[in-house]
Symmetry: C2
Subunit: 305 residues, 2 copies
């Protein structure tokens, strides 16, 4: 495994949950001489300075990336085009540009076309998060023992890819390289589809008459509250992800709808054997997740016990 990289100047464009958590990692691990943060609002710029997350806070993308050897886009996917256009003429020779977006083919298509050939694009996706947002919600341990997926195109510079990988490893992540299309399909299923469904079911509940709605809240411990936790994350963020990964999400939605239709039919027919069979086959996946160490609550329990 390569050494931990060191940067003269890291520009973090967007200092929300992910961006601020990365800034905390950069501080903790001493990954850069200088950290520059981009934030549109003055309040956020003041806050990230007060938290000590950055050395300099900029409102102008061009000023933020000037002289940076690493540029990290950590803003919503919907903002990539405008920011990409603004920073392109100001990127330093050999600068590495990476991102944290949850859809990758769209990023390569949009950003790749904008960047100058003397900059290296290494699209990335640290698969970690909470339902909270903003610079105060971040923490350096967010990435610990989670996966980061990098989706460099065939012609990408191997050193640039290894440098970005090294940065995420310093944050405690395990790094995997895969095709952008494959990433988009896997994430459509593991993340985007669950969010689509969580939003839908909570939406179904919000349309109930007032009396029933307050009872849904009261008795949510039965399973519903887990959906509301998933659905609580930032709506603008998710709108952008859905638009950027539309095709893959539509495909998994179609598969899911087929399976849900089969369950409805079994239920309507009172077919207990078919229901039992459906409910049984999910156990293997659950066991796999616990064994793969991807369930923190279970892991904590095992450590305590």
């Amino acid at each position: 495994m390569a050494e931990t990289p060191h940067f003269k100047r890291i520009a973090i464009l967007g200092v929300g949950l992910i961006g601020s958590s990365l800034a905390r990692v950069v501080r903790r691990e001493g990954l850069a001489d200088e950290v520059v943060g981009l934030a549109r609002s003055e309040a956020t710029r003041e806050r990230i300075l007060a938290l000590g997350l950055v050395d300099r806070a900029e409102a102008d993308p061009a000023a933020a990336v000037a002289g940076a050897d690493l540029v990290v886009l950590a803003l919503h996917l919907g903002g990539y085009e405008a920011v990409g256009t603004a920073i392109a003429p100001h990127l330093a020779e050999g600068a590495i540009v990476t991102d944290v977006g949850s859809a990758k083919r769209a990023v390569i298509d949009r950003l790749g076309a904008l960047l100058p050939s003397h900059a290296h694009l290494v699209p990335g996706h640290p698969v970690a998060g909470t339902e909270h947002s903003g610079p105060d919600a971040g923490f350096a341990e967010l990435f610990q023992d989670r996966w980061c997926i990098l989706t460099p195109d065939a012609g990408a510079d191997p050193d640039a890819v290894e440098t970005v990988a090294g940065m995420w490893r310093a944050g405690g992540m395990m790094v995997e390289i895969m095709d952008a299309e494959h990433h988009d399909l896997v994430l459509a299923l593991t993340s985007h589809l669950p969010h689509a469904i969580a939003y839908t079911i909570v939406g179904t509940a919000t349309e109930l008459e007032g009396d029933l709605q307050s009872e849904v809240i009261k008795f949510s411990a039965g399973g519903f509250r887990d959906f509301t936790r998933i659905a609580a994350t930032n709506p603008e963020f998710w709108r952008d992800v859905f638009l950027a990964n539309r095709d893959a999400i539509l495909e998994v939605l179609a598969r899911f709808t087929e399976d849900l239709t089969a369950l409805r039919k079994a239920l309507r027919q009172g077919d207990g054997a078919a229901l039992h069979e459906m409910f049984l086959r999910t156990h293997a996946i659950r066991r796999g997740i616990i064994e793969a160490g991807q369930d923190q609550a279970e892991e904590d329990k095992r450590k305590d016990g």
Copy 2:
């Protein structure tokens, strides 16, 4: 509020997660002179005796309920009819029969017809649980600050209802009385629909080719693992719940499917404004749940902070 009840003999029929947690509450609060547990397997009978959960472990329902002033059915809904038939001739004069089932109209119809008129039926549903099952998984705090719904019929004995309510309050529960039909609709939405969907989405994933499936497990932190946690609970239990509450579940599934179709359409059309609107309206419900104190993780965070 009435006093905490005291029983000469409580018979707990089924000593799994809920039954054993209730037994622990009975011990902690000293609610009974004697606790009798019903368990079909000899291993479970030995285990519940070894854990000190019961004074006596029986394999025969008739022997378990003889002389008991309170009988609690804490087994799967599919076992109610056989056990109800077996215990009916042996219930003591004035015995209260209650249960913990997740569907209530079916319980009243099935059990109500079987019981003798000298026994009092008070159907109940403590809305609490974990993904684990069996007597070792139970703990007395499972019910703390959760809701218990009682659905007595119009002719039910008020003292018997109050006695059952007092028992759950001793376990830390808040008690609400409502119509069985209303309970079934609320729970179809807050609990049964989430489980139907969680099972379905995990099932969709299990049908993927091997390579993709192992990646789904690897990258499950993005939201998917929360579904697998919901879907991990006992398949027999859920088959019985679905069959017992079929009509209400089919109704909410129909509503959900309509809403999911609308989301798919918005996504296919690339309608960002419509997606944003859908994602926004869920925030109010989530806030309501946190304010109602039904999200333990959030509550713990607030206490720590």
